[in-house]
Symmetry: C2
Subunit: 170 residues, 2 copies
């Protein structure tokens, strides 16, 4: 299990972590839990993302947001998913084996993300099976959970990823 | 039904479209289909988004991507969802009634998005019901579909949104 590292403001790739051994399909065993680190979210970042991708009043305008349904500015759910993805790429996914995602099941945003929140990401492998049609790969279903500094769950989702086998002949 | 407008590079909010009447819960009738416009995605945008949020080789490095699983650079799925959201905010969601999203069911990315693709977004209301606990709002389930210039589906998802009623006493 990796120890989480804060990566605020760092545009890192997995290649920047040479100490980490690559993971292949065989390593994503159901039950594996990986700490994917923590990061903080500023009001400035929340507004900048939302102005470009999700310009609803409660994401872009602190004054309107104060009188809005959340009593203040909150992050776009797509901002939270994107920030979570960065942590997954740095701590859970390997460039040697990742073949992309087929999709996502059940994103839930049970609590809002607010400016100044510190978010922590954890990934858990739930299912792993070989592909029926392509012998070089398997399909992994993983639960990603994002919690805030109070331990409240702010997002969860299940990702469906294609992952290369280390040894397709096994 | 609204006519789609390209919004490439424009950071617009619904307030920039004064001709559009606000939609409330009562207006999101199952069967309603809304054309949410089209936009193009450049290689530069794909790389910039992915460097920040999803720095996998096939999203950030055209040379590595050429030898990778997709035979070239493709957009992060989170980039596609974020760009889709901008179209939904401009054409489907109303700032007068939107109370945010509870979550998303079943994102699927059946085909990759490549540099230069022109993507078209369409939203269809599938279910609408009043909230059991909060009389001022309802819950809408909508299918969002994104197709490319060849008519291929590149993404679909089902969004679950809270929407204010025009007349909660009705």
């Amino acid at each position: 299990m990796l120890t989480g590292q804060s990566t605020v403001g760092i545009l890192a790739t997995v290649n920047d972590h040479p100490e980490r051994a690559p993971r292949y399909f065989e390593d994503y065993v159901p039950g594996l839990v990986v700490d994917c680190g923590a990061f903080s979210v500023s009001e400035e970042e929340i507004i900048a993302f939302a102005k470009e991708y999700d310009p609803q009043p409660f994401h872009v305008d602190p004054v309107q947001a104060a009188d809005g349904p959340y009593g203040g500015l909150i992050a776009s759910g797509w901002h939270t998913t994107s920030l979570m993805m960065r942590q997954l790429v740095e701590h859970f996914v390997s460039p040697e084996s990742s073949l992309g995602a087929a999709g996502i099941d059940e994103i839930r945003w049970p609590k809002p993300v607010r400016p100044g929140d510190t978010l922590h990401v954890r990934a858990s492998v739930r299912e792993a099976r070989r592909s029926g049609s392509k012998p070089d790969r398997g399909i992994i279903r993983s639960l990603a959970e994002v919690t805030n500094q109070d331990g409240d769950l702010v997002m969860k989702l299940t990702a469906i990823n294609f992952v290369r086998l280390r040894d397709p002949s096994a």
